[in-house]
Point group: C2
Chain length 480, copies 2
Amino acid sequence: MAPVKIGIIGAGSAVFSLRLVSDLCKTPGLSGSTVTLMDIDEERLEAVHTLAKKYVDEVGADLKFEKTLNVDDAIRDADFVINTAMVGGHTYLEKVRQISEKYGYYRGIDAQEFNMVSDYYTFSNYNQLKYFVEIARKIEKLSPKAWYIQAANPVFEGVTLVTRTVPIKAVGFCHGHYAVEEIFEALELDPKDVNWQVAGFNHGIWLNRFLYKGENAYPLLDKWIEEKSKDWKPKNPFNDQLSPVAIDMYRFYGVMPIGDTVRNAIWRYHRDLATKKKWYGEPWGGADSEVGWKWYQDSLGMVTDVTKRVAKFIKENPKAKLADLAKVIGDSLSEQEFIIELNRILDPEKRSGEQHVPFIDALLNNKRDRFVINIPNKGVIPEIPDDVVVEVPAIVDKNGIHPERIEPPLPSRVVKYYLYPRMMRMEMALEAFLTGDIRIIKELLYRDPRTKSDEQVEKVIEEILALPENAEMRRHYLKK
Amino acid sequence: MAPVKIGIIGAGSAVFSLRLVSDLCKTPGLSGSTVTLMDIDEERLEAVHTLAKKYVDEVGADLKFEKTLNVDDAIRDADFVINTAMVGGHTYLEKVRQISEKYGYYRGIDAQEFNMVSDYYTFSNYNQLKYFVEIARKIEKLSPKAWYIQAANPVFEGVTLVTRTVPIKAVGFCHGHYAVEEIFEALELDPKDVNWQVAGFNHGIWLNRFLYKGENAYPLLDKWIEEKSKDWKPKNPFNDQLSPVAIDMYRFYGVMPIGDTVRNAIWRYHRDLATKKKWYGEPWGGADSEVGWKWYQDSLGMVTDVTKRVAKFIKENPKAKLADLAKVIGDSLSEQEFIIELNRILDPEKRSGEQHVPFIDALLNNKRDRFVINIPNKGVIPEIPDDVVVEVPAIVDKNGIHPERIEPPLPSRVVKYYLYPRMMRMEMALEAFLTGDIRIIKELLYRDPRTKSDEQVEKVIEEILALPENAEMRRHYLKK
């Protein structure tokens, strides 16, 4: 048993925080631990805190809670600092997207080849990258032995930046790779009999190994594609693992793109809403269309709203049981999903699927387990430089992180035509951020297929830098 | 003294062939050698042969000539095979360009980011890549100890392809790096006191080292830029070493792009004729505009025409001296250039500037010398895979080719933002060629900023494949 202090930065994200808390309650080896919830949104923080405490009381777990608006409190003496904060929130992202679209950049200037995820701002969210480094530096100062665990986007840029610049222990997690299970389910494969491996960059991972009962399982996928893919319909905007675009990418690259990798495709699939609908399915055209993203933002808004309502109800009815909450929650789609989530959280047999708590348990209590983890490459993918963060399977135990040998290797097309150009944009984003050289952001846009003139580039950058949120970014980039 | 047999494939290229012949005449160590001129254009071959023989007779060199329409004759028992042939010639290139432009691809589908040189077709000239491999295989069979020396474009793709697929000795040469001398001249630097180095890919090399009398000479360039660059005017379409685009690239990348590298820029400098004029100078907008390229083709046509006229004149006047030929040549710009070239060829003190003959002399006669040469990387540029051909300085002597250590290393921006994407397109071109997978060429076009729809891609490829010259290419790509 190893009680620890875990700081969660951006804890106002209710679902994520409750998942971690419920995982902690179901992990006996972490009994007695302290969780410090930190957010700058006091109302959301308060609501999450209320729910978390209620949940812990109900299940009778030995877990202490703190809440704070001050990030230092979440870091000081922590053993693990989990960062899920999105600086500026969706309001900022939408402002930048709106400016970008005014100048001809559909879905925003950060939407780039192999980087179409709509909240994955790598060039125009200076504050987010800066916050990653700030947190890392605070860890270095206040709790130098703590692990920095990044859940916030962009994971690829963020973890590469932190591991290159601050000498602390850092990893990144994403749940995108669980989408392999959607493939197993469609093919009716018992997951226990599947031997699989994924490798690449976060939101750019590929199913390099796919064996069923020891045999190549790709022919089973081919059969599914031939017989069943025509009947495929997305259940929600994010449901794209078996969409036409995933299959098209599989056919070209030779292995399946997994999870958000399907979103991170070339412009051919993203030119406009009609194109997106064709490839990602009706009616949303995937998560990264104007329709799909609105669906997501509405869902997020409803989750926040439900969280607050539920917290209020609990305060007013301290004896109510969480299991009875379904009745006070409405029955919109998001609310239904909240209830499903709630039931999963309440089920003592089920884990959330987030890897953070099992990772901590594996490290501290030698609960040897397999993770898909973002760490500096150091030779795992031979063609990729050592100091670039890759997302690969690894065994974790008390001795640390042991990346698996990637076997068979990623196909040459994945490395040369997908990972290299994706890596280039990561390098441009980090160099721009680190040097404050605005010419790198301009160069990115000069190379953008949506750019028709230098003036367009100048104007869009000027207007983004003029946003009040970007006062510091502006100073950073215009200092010369 | 080591008499050798040198086969020149594509010898109907008069200026190139005469340069090699004159260099051979001025190289005592290669006295007694045999030169086999090969071309499929009998009339041009005959003209070059006549001129070459006349020249050798006049200077009294010991050099034997053969001419042949059969490539095997140029390869059998050769010690060196120099390939300068462009399969299909400019006629083919212009046909493809015309089709491409009809479908919205200004300057052709092969014009790509970092690959704007107008005769550098890597995707649509299947016959050219195929010819490289054919020649290499013939060398392997007919004269396995011979060196394959590639002068024909695309050097980067061609030498990488040959060195990856055929086990013969192969190198590539280009004279592009001599453009460093234009910089020395502009800055009034004595070349003897300049310590310089270039590195990169063919048509993608950068002045990583530039010292004058042991000190960093870039500040001298900065001064020139500040004081004199505003007065710069191009002397011809190819005169771009100190053009605004070269200076702009220098400012961004931190070192000067050298020679054709200046042409191989991003679309920002190449969008249309007006843009090209702005960056490459009036009135041509550089060599790769419709105006500049017409100038070049006209010049080539005139050189061929003058060659034929001169050859005819010599046959009719066997006692005429080459030095007197100026009077029978006209006085158009190209004809004037031909005369300048002729005078250089006739001057016993001057070498042509082509590296082929000095390279042979260095290897055979241990005339240790420095070359800029295209060879498989094998660690010379650390970030680039071993089997990619790089253009780097090397010392050559009887023991072989000794690449210099690249010091200081290429700036990270050059490697990550220029060489990587250029390398990706080389890999796509070679994989398309080797596998016959048409989807790679489509993928290239899907990623092209000029592509607006899948139909555009389908149509342009279909029409290029339908050209009679491309019957074999069509079978290769549509076999599946």
